[in-house]
């Protein structure tokens, strides 16, 4: 009799334990997936919005299918006054990262408000520049002579955000698409939503129900 009771109880305990472990693992997996999706959504919402905040649609960015191509602002160089026209500029640079000649271009703004674009050919160091505050002095060599009276050089990076391969990806210059989020998004439900006036986004985690469709506003296509 004792043996029967012991075996029955043992089986019950084992069964309960296995079921508990299985359910706990399943619940844990789902929670981790949801946390991943929530963090990824926050990143996918915040980063492109920040990039487009001061950019102009059509000139600085445009949407093409799964791509959001842009010239992303990366910093500003205050140009030190020079005599005559030169392709070398001494600047006091302040920005998100150091300039990279392989990827960056420069918008040159003159004292009279004129603007022209040049590619960055090389970056050198100088010991002293003319800027005020915590800026980095640098020598920028452009692919063409800068117009005279240039006062500010704004640094831009050519890149594109992609909603592809179940992730938000970023391609800088001509390099490959690097994932910014885990590959958790359902395609093609996750996409940029383009209308005449604006661009929005929809993020849908794989295997999620209709309530897990996250939408939001990205940018206006017309001027403010």
């Amino acid at each position: 009799m004792e043996t029967v009771v012991a075996v029955s109880l043992g089986t019950l305990v084992l069964q309960l334990g296995l079921v508990s472990v299985q359910r706990t693992r399943l619940a844990h997996t789902r929670i981790v997936e949801r946390i991943d999706a929530l963090g990824s959504f926050r990143l996918g919402r915040f980063v492109p919005r920040r990039e487009l905040r001061y950019a102009l649609a059509g000139r600085d960015w445009w949407v093409d299918a799964d791509s959001l191509a842009l010239r992303a602002f990366r910093g500003t160089g205050v140009v030190c006054p020079t005599d005559g026209v030169s392709s070398d500029l001494v600047v006091s640079f302040r920005g998100d990262r150091q300039p990279d000649p392989e990827k960056d271009s420069v918008l040159l703004i003159g004292a009279n408000g004129s603007a022209s674009v040049a590619a960055l050919s090389a970056v050198g160091t100088v010991t002293e520049a003319c800027g005020i505050g915590p800026a980095t002095p640098a020598l920028w060599r452009l692919d063409r002579p800068a117009p005279s009276q240039v006062v500010v050089a704004r640094l831009f990076e050519r890149g594109a955000y992609h909603l592809s391969g179940s992730a938000l990806r970023y391609r800088r210059g001509a390099s490959g698409r690097q994932p910014l989020t885990p590959e958790i998004w359902s395609m093609p439900a996750t996409r940029w939503i383009e209308s005449v006036e604006r661009v929005a986004f929809a993020y849908v985690p794989s295997g999620a129900g209709p309530r897990r469709r996250w939408t939001g506003f990205l940018a206006w296509k017309s001027g403010r």
């Binding site: 309960l16 359910r23 929670i31 506003f217």
Partner: protein, 105 residues
């Protein structure tokens, strides 16, 4: 003397196991509920940002509502002309209330 567990010992072990299992389940439930709230909040913020961007461009601001996945983003013009944005779930829980710097006057 016989080696083994008595029935009482087995029952006590089962009770302890049950309490542990219930505790773990309760923690997971709490995590899930907290996550649900975080998801609602994130979604509401994303949509409220869109509302705010729209209101900044509007020449005339009137009360309105935007329905999103987890509830409604409601904006109202207060008596003193300020625009207030409120996010409410379908269950009626207020997620946040923001008094903006926009003025309808």
């Amino acid at each position: 003397m016989r080696w083994g567990f008595t029935l009482i010992e087995v029952v006590v072990a089962l009770v302890v196991l049950e309490i542990t299992a219930v505790g773990v389940a309760a923690m997971l439930r709490l995590a899930s509920v907290t996550l649900e709230r975080a998801e609602q909040l994130e979604s509401a913020v994303a949509n409220a940002e869109g509302v705010l961007d729209s209101l900044k461009r509007a020449t005339v601001i009137e009360d309105g509502t935007l329905r999103f996945g987890a509830g409604d983003v409601v904006w109202t013009v207060s008596d003193d002309g300020d625009v207030v944005i409120r996010a409410v779930t379908y269950e009626g829980v207020t997620l946040f209330v923001v008094r903006t710097l926009l003025s309808a006057r």
